[in-house]
Amino acid sequence: MSLTGTGPAETRQSAPTSPTARSMWRASRMAILLGLLFVAAAVVSVAIGGGTGPSRRLDPDDTSLDGSKALAQLLRARGVSVDRADSVTRARELARGGDRLLLITDTSFVLDPAGLATIPGDRVVVGDLYRLDLLAPGVRSSAQAGERSREPECPLPAARAAGDAFMGGAAFTAPRGATGCYPAGDDGWTLVSMPNAGGTTTVVGGGEFMTNRRLAEDGNAALALNLLGSAKAVTWLVEPPRDGTGDTVAGPAGRSIYDLMPPGVPWAVAMAAVAVLVTGLWRGRRLGPVVTERLPVVVRAAETVEGRGRLYRARRARGRAADVLRAGAIDRLLPRLGLAPDAGRDEVVAAVAARTGQDAVQVGSALYGPEPADDAGLVALAQYLDTIERTVGEH
């Protein structure tokens, strides 16, 4: 065999295929333009929106829809001073001034709920808070109530004067001596007012009516002012900012780990980030394309036969297996015995018995007998058929 045929390739001219700076600019200028537009739009929207970061729900300084700055402004306009307190210590200090109302909208950050509960004076609790049993003993949340406009249906002056209000969230059971307002069907009350040691404790199911979004609806503003404006001053308990200046754990002498670090470390971390970036660029650049190719299918021809074997096995198809083994054995025996392909049963059995010297009944039951009773019988049959074939072959 000679390998002199014309090759499929001739020497052809090479040509660069990587994009030039110009073509890359042409291809990507639209994307770059769109990216710049997007960044500009984001910058403008943040600048206009004030950039207050994420909204803080029910915070007297928050101007977002979920905040409560509007309510705080209304209170201040009515001569009530509103003080934010982001810790129990601060709230207690403020309470020393006397005649203060404590507004609690969240207790999940409070490390000492029992201490909070001991602060004297009026108290408004918003929502089914953690350790509500300490803040308003006897009031228990009984069900979830949808937030919607509800009627007061109670003798509490603050509620009667305000009329309908957007109430809901949690429904409470009122203890003895307490007043329940804004009922949520038969589940309980969404506002419960009860006397405590030094004043009144009011529990409302949700604070939605105090947010900037809802304050102008129904009698929401009236209800909020009636509840909070009764005192000269309001201590508004808010979550401390999460930048480590609040009640966070500090080391000895109040110095955090950041204070103890040498000044170069944060800069070195920034440099390490640059080094990681450079390493990524070094390792990430591929030398040439990933080459793909269409591979032929890999399928073994015997798979169908193996599959059929597994089917026989799964169904314990002894009868079928025995029939096939017998048919195969007879098919091979016939030419060796010199019989025609359409030889009958008696003829075959007689010829095999004569050639092998075995009992004709036994040979007959092996070649034409019934289905084996169990797997052991099938194995025995298969091996006996092998023996017959071998003996016929030898003689």
Binding site: S18, V291, P296, R300
Partner: protein, 457 residues
């Protein structure tokens, strides 16, 4: 552009510098600026990749299992030295080595690189791209660019059965007889007249010629020559099944070698597709038939004609056959036997030996070939050659446990079907060769020689 490990190292050292510097902020800015400036300088000073020119030379044909070398000449017409690495990307089954080569071409000069291909699969393999990364003098950054430098290598079937050729040629010579036969028999044709020598059979004296020549002349005979053999390769789905053990590992087979059994559950490594074994047998048969003086045509067909070789001269027959076979892959569709038969009838006007390389799959043959076989066998002598699966024979022989007996029954069923379809084909006057993969080529050659000896061509 690309950065190097050296740039990453410099950046990592910068971390230490920033850590110990009295003014870490300024140090950070300084290190970053110096690194960026060095990278830019390096990029500016690196040899340009775009103007490089590539020329190729080397082999375009290689037999499967052998190595081919392709040379790549890199010419640098630029004014700066191009130093770095080069990758000549080929498809994985081309087995190109080395994957990445060092490159150092001074301005205005050229360098020769050699790529060795060890293909693991038949067919055409083309170089996809040449990528050059030219590193700057500082070794911090590199320019990278890609070129297209086309070159294709056709990987031919290996023709492993050529080791059987000498024995078959000896049989053929025996058959022809170096001494032309004097006995006229079936399957012989008139060869020549020669002078009578003592010992020749007097019955072979040609009296008419003797009268003309004033000398006693005898006729001599030889086996028929110039018969036609049409080898038809079925490339349908049944030819994709892998049987036996691959003499040369093919792409797609597990590469973990180590004997015929590997992986979980002792699953045998898939061997060669039936198609490749059939090609091997076809090559041996055509080599033999060409030597015997017969004309060989080749047709590959599944639902359409995949390859057709006709009228190749005896010396060029094998090279044109392997060239035609090289790109053929098994198509995963049912072969169209009706179309195949009409393609054969359209091409073979005179009576010829049609060697059909397919699988004796009862279901496929019942649906496809059997109904149209009479059309073919009435005009031509048909020989069906099929590769049997040694795994089936192995399964049929094991009867130790109940599980093995069930498998043996399934294998027996397959063999029974095969024997029955063989018997039916023979009743139609079709010759059948059914042999395991290692024996199919010599068995087919022997069948051809037997037909030739019997004068049935």
């Amino acid at each position: 552009m690309a950065l190097t490990g050296r740039a990453a190292l410099v950046a990592a050292l910068g971390v230490v510098v920033v850590l110990v510097a009295p003014q870490p902020g300024a140090a950070l800015a300084g290190v970053c600026l110096v690194l960026a400036a060095a990278i830019l300088v390096d990029l500016a000073l690196a040899g340009a990749v775009r103007p490089l020119r590539f020329h190729r030379s080397g082999e375009t044909l290689v037999r499967l299992g052998q190595r081919a070398t392709v040379e790549l000449v890199v010419e640098n017409p630029g004014s700066r030295r191009v130093r770095g690495v080069l990758r000549d990307a080929w498809p994985p089954s081309a087995g190109a080595a080395p994957r990445v080569m060092r490159l150092d071409v001074p301005p205005g000069e050229r360098r020769r690189l050699t790529v060795t291909l060890t293909p693991t699969r038949r067919g055409d393999r083309e170089s996809v791209a040449v990528t050059v990364r030219s590193v700057g003098p500082l070794g911090l950054a590199a320019r990278q660019g890609r070129h297209r430098s086309p070159w294709a290598v056709r990987v031919l079937p290996p023709f492993l059965s050529r080791k059987h050729l000498p024995a078959r040629l000896a049989r053929l010579r025996e058959l022809e007889g170096r001494h032309p036969a004097l006995v006229r028999g079936q399957g012989t044709e008139f060869d020549s007249l020669r002078e009578y020598v003592v010992g020749d059979d007097v019955r072979s004296i040609d009296w008419r010629a003797t009268a003309r020549r004033h000398d006693v002349v005898v006729r001599t005979w030889r086996p028929e020559r110039d018969r036609r053999v049409l080898i038809v390769l079925d490339t349908g789905r049944t030819s994709a099944g892998r049987v036996g053990e691959a003499p040369i590992p093919l792409a797609g087979a597990p590469a973990d070698g180590g004997g015929p059994v590997s992986g979980r559950g002792a699953r045998p490594v898939p061997g060669w597709p039936r198609l490749d074994w059939s090609m091997d047998a076809a090559l041996l048969l055509s080599a033999l038939a060409a030597r015997a003086g017969d004309r060989v045509d080749f047709l590959a067909h599944d639902r359409a004609v995949r390859a057709w070789v006709s009228g190749a001269s005896r010396t060029e027959l094998l090279s044109s056959l392997v060239n035609a076979m090289a790109p053929i892959e098994a198509e995963l569709v049912e072969a169209d036997s009706r179309g195949m038969v009409s393609a054969i009838l359209a091409r073979a006007k005179r009576r010829c030996l049609v060697v059909l390389l397919t699988d004796l799959n009862a279901a496929a043959l019942d649906e496809g070939l059997m109904p149209v076989l009479p059309q073919l066998s009435s005009r031509h002598l048909v020989l069906v050659a099929a590769v049997s699966d040694p795994r089936v024979a192995d399964m049929a022989a094991r009867k130790g446990t109940a599980e093995e007996v069930y498998d043996a029954a399934a294998a027996e069923r397959t063999r029974l079907d095969r024997r029955r379809i063989t018997a039916r084909l023979r009743r139609h006057g079709v010759e059948v060769v059914d042999a395991p993969p290692d024996d199919i080529a010599p068995a087919l050659a022997d069948a051809y020689l037997a037909l030739k000896a019997a004068g049935r061509l």
